[in-house]
């Protein structure tokens, strides 16, 4: 019976300890800065346009091919009297969050630092009823960064 008494002692000792439950929906745990929810595009606040120039680097590097990018000439370019130095700008950009495996390779290959991993809770709370709604188009991808909700972390 000694062993059974020992087991009872262990459970009694945990009876005395403070519960470790995190009340998720009511209390949102503070996410580490490196948290990788889903990739999203970053907004260049001072020239008021996305960093992304639509160069397809991430689209080619993606293992699961969950991105589609279209490029166009930048109307806001200096040659046409605009303020931006980017000659090309992203026209259309879709990421299928249903296929993305969050491996962070797109962030590593992007040489304009235009894409980063969403490290906010909104990036995690993405449940939808229809799989097609998981395909994020350009406005959706840029919405959080445009609203300055993202301080992105990108490995140096």
């Amino acid at each position: 019976m000694k062993g059974i008494m020992k087991s009872l002692a262990v459970t009694m000792s945990t009876f005395m300890r403070r519960p470790v439950t995190r009340n998720y929906p009511t209390v949102h745990r503070e996410l580490p800065e490196r948290d990788r929810a889903f990739p999203l595009l970053l907004w260049d606040q001072d020239i008021d346009e996305p960093f992304c120039t639509g160069c397809h680097a991430c689209e080619r590097a993606c293992p699961v091919e969950c991105m589609t990018v279209l490029m166009k000439d930048n109307p806001n370019h200096e040659a046409q009297g605009g303020t931006s130095k980017r000659r090309k700008i992203v026209d259309e950009f879709w990421i299928d969050y249903g296929r993305c495996m969050r491996c962070n390779i797109c962030v590593e290959v992007c040489n304009f630092e235009a894409i980063a991993m969403n490290n906010t809770w909104r990036g995690h709370e993405m449940s939808v009823y229809d799989r097609a709604d998981l395909v994020m188009d350009l406005p959706q991808l840029m919405s959080q960064s445009k609203a300055k909700e993202i301080d992105e972390w990108v490995a140096d």
Binding site: M1, K2, I4, V10, T11, T14, R17, V20, N23
Partner: protein, 374 residues
């Protein structure tokens, strides 16, 4: 004791009101018990338990009840209709019948029955039939195995339970629960019969199908046992029966062994104090059951059987023999206490012996010499 409750003369009406009182009390207590168990088990596991429904989760049992009532009451296509439908009643009703003899407080007893203890044992063994019917009726292999296991366990642990109650009745020399409790005003029966208390707890756990004896309903093996095919209100009957049985067993334990409402100056401090006494004693038995449920693994069916037949039963027979000898020759009751303590030591040694094959001493190997030559 006034012959009718609230002074009603017509016995039929009086009996009906008492039964209604019991049913009302029971459903409230069982709902509360489910909630308390979930909270206590959670605390044992450093969790919070139900917190979402109502303040601190108090409405959890109500929510469960509403959900179960709302659920569709399924029956497998080729299940045997009658046995499947009637099984829950045969499990649920005997437990309620047991409440007739339970001595809550001095005056409050549904009916003072001369052979109260025998009546309780007889009634509580009826529910085994219900388990077998549920197992056989629902045409599911897991349920079948669960049902057979429930029958084997129920019967083989009925005997130590009965013998335990008989040996206590010998000491208190009466079967009427009221007398048994009244006789304990100076010394509770646990003093005279320590071994019987241990055996009663073990057999009680087995009757309730509680860990370490929850073999018929072991989720990891038979996925819920006999009531795997049940759903909705029918399933909740099984669930309520389990908690009602726990409640009645803890009340009987408090009454028979810890002196019920009598022991520390129960008579002269009036009903309020008696109520406190009974609830503390019953509560401590229930807390012990929850505590064991959280910390002890489940026995295998053959170990369970051999434990009852080879260890509990012989011990109980010897105990009754000693009781008889001491009581017939009017020896002092303290010999019984001594015999009981020796019995417990023997029980512990037997369990230790049954388990103590030489445990493999783990040899820590010296690091392998040389690196891999490919």
């Amino acid at each position: 004791m006034s012959d009718g409750i609230f002074g009603i003369e017509n016995t039929w009406l009086d009996a009906l009101i008492r039964v209604q009182l019991i049913v009302g009390l029971m459903t409230v207590v069982v709902m509360g018990l489910i909630y308390i168990e979930r909270k206590v088990l959670a605390r044992f596991q450093q969790r919070l338990g139900p917190t979402r429904t109502g303040p601190a989760g108090l409405l959890q049992s109500l929510a469960d009840a509403l959900k179960l009532v709302g659920k569709e009451d399924l029956r497998p296509r080729n299940a045997d209709p009658w046995t499947f439908e009637l099984a829950p009643y045969l499990v649920f009703v005997p437990v309620f019948l047991g409440f007739v003899v339970v001595p809550f407080v001095a005056g409050w007893q549904v009916r003072v029955v001369e052979l109260g203890l025998i009546y309780f044992v007889a009634v509580s063994s009826l529910s085994i039939i219900g388990w077998i019917m549920a197992g056989w009726g629902s045409d599911n292999r897991y349920a079948m195995i669960g049902g057979m296991r429930a029958a084997a366990q129920g019967i083989s642990y009925e005997l130590p339970l009965v013998l335990a109650l008989i040996s206590v009745a010998m000491v208190a020399d009466s079967y009427d629960l009221n007398q048994i409790v009244a006789g304990q005003s100076k010394y509770p029966n646990i003093v005279w019969q320590p071994l019987v208390v241990v055996v009663f707890t073990i057999a009680g756990l087995a009757e309730l199908n509680r860990t370490p004896f929850d073999i018929p309903v072991g989720e990891s093996e038979v996925v819920g046992g006999p009531f795997v095919e049940y759903s909705g209100i029918r399933w909740s009957f099984f669930f309520l029966a389990e908690y009602a049985a726990l409640f009645i067993l803890s009340l009987i334990f408090a009454a028979v062994f810890l002196g019920g409402w009598a022991w520390p100056l129960g008579e002269d401090w009036g009903r309020g104090w008696q109520l406190v006494l009974v609830s503390v004693k019953a509560g401590s038995f229930m807390f012990l059951v929850f505590w064991v449920r959280v910390s002890v693994p489940r026995l295998r069916i053959d170990q369970l059987m051999s434990f009852s037949w080879k260890i509990l039963l012989p011990l109980m027979l010897v105990q009754i023999l000693i009781n008889g000898a001491v009581l017939v020759y009017h020896g002092s009751l303290w010999i019984l206490t001594l015999a009981g303590l020796v019995g417990i030591a023997v029980l512990v040694k037997l369990v230790g012996h049954a388990v103590s094959q030489p445990r493999s001493k783990v040899v820590v190997a010296a690091p392998a010499e040389g690196k891999a030559a490919s």
